[in-house]
């Protein structure tokens, strides 16, 4: 219990630091949101409109300390304000309309990559020097080091444009109405294939290598030799003796990756025009939309901290040594 409390205290401090940074960083950036709109419109906005918009947005010109206090107040009330780049839509509404798709895409891709990567890693380490072990890691690392944008555009061109197997964009067909019907779920799954698979292809190599390396260390442990000497089945040794112990670092990585799922997959969203938080964050930053930026950063910070906390707790359960220390 003391361990849990200590960790909790640590997370509270981390939360305060990151929330304060969320507040300060956007304000250090030069310019203001309306000047940004002006430069983006490149002459389509008149100088009069700029003055009009300042009146409309009612920009926050209070002293920074008061803004900071107001910011904390809004954190606890969940009232994150109105987005500037999507005025007058509230920040919470902007995030809520995207976060579902973000989580669907991110968690699907993450789960597939983790499962395939770890299984391949286990098998590769178990048959060290075999075909799987010598051929796959270099290939996966090679593919993983491609610029993602290029790879995704290529996949879109081959499987979407030339072969026409998969839709080119969006989370579901334009004109379809979301429902729980099999047709709609099939439509969503179809639209998910290319975006998710491109993420899996570039990330699976990392999972595989990490697993393979820890697995190799574990397989040289005495208790594996012991298990083999007892004549246990190879499968049983591989999964329950070696893999179970080798899986600890993977759990840490998985926990961190879960947290970052909420941040969205920026390039995937751009290439496949998939709705999501990642592109929203980019456009909020380029438009200097402080309320939206803060809202998204806060969501990401919260998700990463919560995921890490859960991993910490799971660790206690998985690894008795952590409890003891």
């Amino acid at each position: 219990m003391r361990f849990v409390l200590r960790r909790l205290g640590f997370y509270l401090v981390a939360f305060w630091v990151s929330v304060t940074l969320n507040f300060l960083l956007p304000r250090v950036m030069p310019g203001d949101p309306i000047s940004r709109m002006m430069s983006q419109s490149q002459g389509r906005m008149t100088p009069e409109q700029v003055v009009q918009m300042q009146a409309l947005f009612g920009l926050d010109n209070r002293p920074i300390l008061q803004q900071y206090i107001g910011y904390w107040h809004s954190l606890f009330t969940g009232e994150m304000g109105v987005s500037i780049s999507r005025f007058p839509t509230p920040v919470s509404e902007v995030i809520a309309s995207q976060i579902g798709w973000t989580i669907l895409l991110g968690s699907t891709a993450l789960l597939i990559a983790v499962v395939i990567g770890n299984l391949l890693g286990i098998l590769a380490a178990w048959r060290r020097g075999g075909v799987l072990d010598s051929a796959l890691p270099p290939i996966l690392v090679f593919i993983g080091s491609f610029p993602y944008f290029w790879l995704a555009m290529g996949a879109l061109d081959v499987f979407g444009v030339v072969l026409g197997w998969f839709p080119l964009r969006h989370a579901f067909s334009a004109g379809a109405t979301p429902s729980l019907s099999p047709e709609f779920i099939g439509d969503v799954a179809m639209h998910l294939v290319l975006p998710a698979m491109t993420i899996v292809v570039v990330s699976v190599g990392g999972w595989m290598l990490a697993m393979r390396n820890t697995m190799i260390t574990t397989t040289s442990e005495d208790y594996i030799v012991m298990a083999e000497a007892k004549g246990l089945k190879a499968n049983r040794i591989m999964f329950r003796y070696a893999a179970r112990n080798a899986t600890l670092p993977a759990v840490t990585n998985f926990g961190m990756a879960i947290g970052f799922v909420v941040g969205g997959a920026l390039l995937t969203e751009v290439v496949f025009a998939y709705p999501g938080v990642g592109f929203q964050l980019l456009s909020a930053v380029t438009a200097l939309d402080y309320p939206l930026m803060q809202g998204i950063f806060l969501t990401i910070t919260g998700a990463v901290l919560v995921a890490n906390f859960i991993v910490d707790m799971v660790y206690v359960r998985l690894d008795p040594r952590v409890r003891a220390s």
Partner: protein, 555 residues
């Protein structure tokens, strides 16, 4: 414990298998969006700058959804910059008063809102009240009164350019908006307008449709069923959809448009980029030496190879500016005499060198020039890093200026840093847009009126280079006060001469307005031969296109 863990993995695998199965099942059902050409196909338009849509159809909001001001709400008249014509829309007629102190609009009768209520002069009066309350502007408007089917606008000062601002103001229904408590924060998700396509249907974060207004005042012009807007996070995916033939009308920038888009189906596809957008200029901060010297501004202008700038950096989609600084939208105003009388926008390296030699900027042994106080003649050109085309423009200018011994360094941080420098007047020079309105009044006011010059350190939104001439002020005031066309032309000619003499900034090229079309599913798009509107989906002229297009029906 071990069992449970393994079971979890097995469950995950099973779930994945199901997902994969669904994916394969969906495979057979996937169809491309084109569908049958039965006349009910929707006009598909991409928006590359809205990654996702949020249902905001408030016409006063700067982020309202595309087509709010084009298909849902309408102005009293529509001005077309490509041929300079004005089409009566919600008003049938208007007359400026002789003394330039006002204008009277006569409204079209039998115009109805999309909920069936009639549109009245009261709606127009209320629209201006709300516009002034929410966004300000229209400082010259003393009052607006309804008089039967007429609306009378009275000014507190003579201001003839006000006609175009008033005529192009969006009109909203009083019976809806008068009851809205907080109109600035209203998202107006079920808009009521007079436009041809007002019925928002199937709104999703990535697409939505606008279908026919059942009470439109020109039902014979609603030939298409409706509009389908698609959201894209950037030019690349939007261009993919456009070049793939999935959009009917698009106006995002497509590089190498002839090969990338038109060549794939030249029978149906076309583009038209008229140079009617704002003039793009090299602005030199005249509060800093040596840019306060007109000889320096002209010499820099003469050293710039505008042909190279437009053909290389702008891919040949526009043409060099002349020394009136007017874009093609002001073709009827341009004075041929002024254009013939000056040469500082023509490439002439020798002349530029001679001009600088005479003005006291000596060229040293190493070829670089110095200012009269002995410091090197060197400055920065600031451009936002995101604008790759303008960056090329700046780089070409930098090379050009090296030939006259002037060191111009291209400085390209993020746009926000660049614009912050423009606004507080701390920049050296930059590639900058300018004001663009139906008459050249706003352009000249923004580049050489003392009224728009703010001291360095104060935030300016126009006239970043901080140049003003009392002579220009007088002419601008004369122009604004005049209700007479012939007199306006005379004053505008004099303004052009003042501009040509003083070179307040260095005009480079008029901005092109992008637009491409695909006639596979719809016909009747504007083109160079039929310039009834630019091919832009974002300007108010889009309503002219929407009421002209016809669906293709396959037999």
């Amino acid at each position: 414990m071990a069992h449970r863990r393994f079971n979890t993995k097995a469950r995950v695998l099973a779930a994945l298998a199901v997902a994969g199965g669904l994916a394969l099942a969906g495979c057979s059902g996937a169809t491309t969006g084109s569908g049958d050409l039965d006349g009910t196909q929707l006009l598909t338009i991409p928006r590359e700058d809205k990654a996702t849509f949020s249902a905001n159809f408030n016409p006063f909001s700067p982020n309202s959804m595309p087509m709010t001001q084009q298909a849902i709400y309408e102005p009293m008249f529509v001005f077309n910059p490509t041929d300079g014509t004005t089409t009566p829309w919600l008003a049938t007629d208007w007359a400026s008063s002789e003394d330039g102190m006002g204008v009277t609009f006569t409204l079209r009768d039998s115009v109805q809102w999309s909920d069936g209520d009639p549109m009245t002069a009261e709606d127009v009066v209320f629209s201006f009240e709300l516009q002034k309350e929410l966004l300000g502007g229209f400082e010259y408007l003393e009052n607006v009164t309804a008089d039967g089917a007429k609306v009378v606008f009275t000014y507190n000062t003579a201001f003839s350019p006000g006609l175009f601002e008033i005529g192009q103001q969006i009109i909203i229904p009083k019976h809806i908006w008068a009851d809205i408590a907080d109109p600035a924060n209203e998202t107006n998700s079920e808009p009521v307008g007079t436009g041809p396509y007002t019925e928002v249907t199937n709104f999703q974060t990535q697409s939505y449709s606008l279908l026919r207004n059942p009470h439109y005042w020109q039902p014979d012009k609603q030939k298409i069923e409706g509009i389908l807007m698609l959201a894209f996070a950037g030019n690349d995916p939007a261009n993919l959809a456009t070049t793939n033939g999935e959009t009917d009308w698009a106006d995002q920038f497509i590089p190498n448009v002839q090969n990338a888009f038109v060549a794939k189906d030249s029978e149906h596809r076309g583009y038209w980029f008229p140079s009617v957008d704002a003039m793009i200029n090299l602005q030199l901060n005249t509060t800093k030496a040596p840019f306060d010297d007109v000889a320096v501004r002209k010499a820099i202008s003469m050293a710039i190879d505008r042909e190279e700038v437009t053909s290389v950096a702008m891919q040949g989609y526009t043409h060099p500016a002349d020394c009136t600084g007017l874009s093609d939208a002001y073709g009827t105003w341009r004075s041929a005499d002024v254009v013939a009388s000056c040469d500082w926008t023509t490439l002439d390296v020798k002349g530029a060198n001679a001009l600088l030699d005479d003005a006291g900027y000596p060229q040293g042994a190493d070829g670089t020039r110095t200012l009269p106080d002995g410091s090197p003649f060197a400055f920065d050109i600031s451009v936002g890093s995101a604008s790759s085309d303008w960056l090329s423009v700046a780089n070409i200018i930098s090379q050009n200026l090296a030939e006259i011994g002037v060191t111009a360094t291209v400085n390209s941080p993020d746009w926000s840093a660049v614009v912050a420098g423009y606004e507080d007047g701390s920049f050296d020079s930059g590639i900058v847009w300018s004001n663009n309105a139906p008459t050249p009044y706003q352009y000249y006011r923004g580049v050489m009126s003392t009224a728009t010059v703010l001291p360095v350190g104060e935030q300016a939104f126009q006239n970043y280079h901080r140049f003003g001439l009392p002579a220009a002020d007088d002419l601008l005031a004369q122009f604004a006060a005049s209700g007479d066309d012939a007199e306006q032309v005379t004053v505008m000619n004099e303004l052009q001469a003042v501009y040509a003499e003083n070179a307040p900034l260095v005009p480079l090229f008029p901005g092109p307005r992008w637009g491409v079309y695909n006639t596979t599913r719809f016909t009747g798009f504007p083109s160079e031969d039929n310039p009834y509107a630019p091919l832009s989906t974002r300007s108010t002229t889009a309503v002219l296109v929407l009421t002209t297009l016809e669906p293709v029906v396959s037999k």
